[in-house]
Symmetry: C2
Subunit: 234 residues, 2 copies
């Protein structure tokens, strides 16, 4: 038997794992000792929380983050040939979305290893559901440029694409830059363009609000350092 | 107190709800009697399965499907003013994604009603995770045109956009047309363009495979009448 690659979700913050994911995730983590992880510390913390009785000493963790080269990671799935299952864990949320995990999934397909995605919290899909914007046509764009003028151009382009394709445009920002992102959106977008901001998704402090660019000028929202998803629709 | 709008996931097929969603979904369904549903029969079946002791006679179900007009549904959230929580339920998977539910979420934002998205299976995000394609930039395009020549044009356009933006392109098809969709993709796309097909996601018969258009010519896959997600990447 050849081992499988399980795509294991984690929490989006400090919540109980079983509040935001099915019991089947716990059952899979119980079976697995070999993990490919985006961040070792957060992975150990999650594994301990969801399977408190699993000895940490039995864990084999292998790093895959944005600095990992293909050369370093190309042997990570060899152990599947010995019938061992491998788990892929992101730093937050579901793996292989908005993180470097997809390269390992690609490798699994090339090697004919079965890939099993497990259900858990994806801030992108939860924000999209809760936005009230077009969920039949949407795009996730990752981070926008940091440079002021390039960023302005990117925001204008997203608004234009949204108008032309009736497509909701999702993007993310580093939490300490949320405030300036909202200021840019207010200033650059047409007054009637809708902006959804979804902060601290699945946490007790969850905040999700959709308003027009004009209405956001009067909304008092404390977004500072809170993980957020932005969605706009013309 | 004003009632909230809960976005309640359901299963993607005949699985036990708690195998694919957290226990918190069950707790919310226990509290709610007033539901806005895409399909009454499947909604009743799901509510019965996840909360067997809830009397069906206490349920108030209100229809929101692709034939519903804004006029019919505009009062659906009035009951929130009486402190009653409302649940939104799609026919399969998470509501307000690839279904008409977003209009009610939009109404909730307009009325200042809190929207609470719950975690559950989204075939789009599970397929994207498992595809091994770029998960940092992707678009969901819904259904492609049925007309042969328009469809060909749409497929070509998706491939072009994928190349230009390094963006994975997700779309869906009516299950009995999956086979002809795969034939079209094989014939129209460049031989090296990657195609992921994810069928029966979360079911025991789950099948997820990423191959190039050329390799798909030699792959024996029975896709007929199985719910599927297609993703391509140049």
């Amino acid at each position: 038997m050849i081992g499988k690659l399980y795509l294991i979700p984690t929490t989006l913050g400090d919540t109980e794992p079983l509040e935001v994911m099915p019991i089947s995730v716990k059952k899979v983590v119980e079976q697995i000792d070999y993990f490919i992880v985006e961040n070792e510390k957060s992975a150990r913390k999650f594994i301990k929380k969801i399977t408190p009785t699993k000895p940490q000493s039995s864990l084999q963790l292998h790093l895959l983050d944005k600095y990992s080269s293909e050369f370093e990671t190309r042997n990570y799935l060899d152990i599947c040939n010995e019938g061992v299952h491998v788990g892929l864990l992101s730093e937050a949320g579901v793996p292989a979305i908005a993180d470097p995990g997809a390269s390992i999934v690609k490798l699994a397909h090339e090697k004919g290893i079965q890939v099993v995605p497990l259900v858990g919290p994806s801030s992108i899909i939860l924000a999209m559901m809760a936005s009230g914007m077009n969920g039949q046509n949407f795009a996730f764009n990752g981070y926008l440029p940091i440079d002021k003028s390039e960023r302005k151009k990117a925001i204008k382009n997203l608004e234009k694409t949204s108008k032309e394709k009736n497509q909701s445009q999702i993007f993310i920002e580093t939490p300490y830059r949320n405030k300036s992102m909202l200021e840019d959106l207010r200033a650059i977008l047409s007054p009637t363009t809708q902006i959804c901001i979804a902060c601290d998704i699945t946490l007790p402090s969850e905040y999700i609000r959709t308003l027009s660019a004009k209405e956001w000028k009067f909304e008092k929202a404390d977004l500072h350092k809170r993980p957020a998803i932005f969605i706009i629709h013309y």
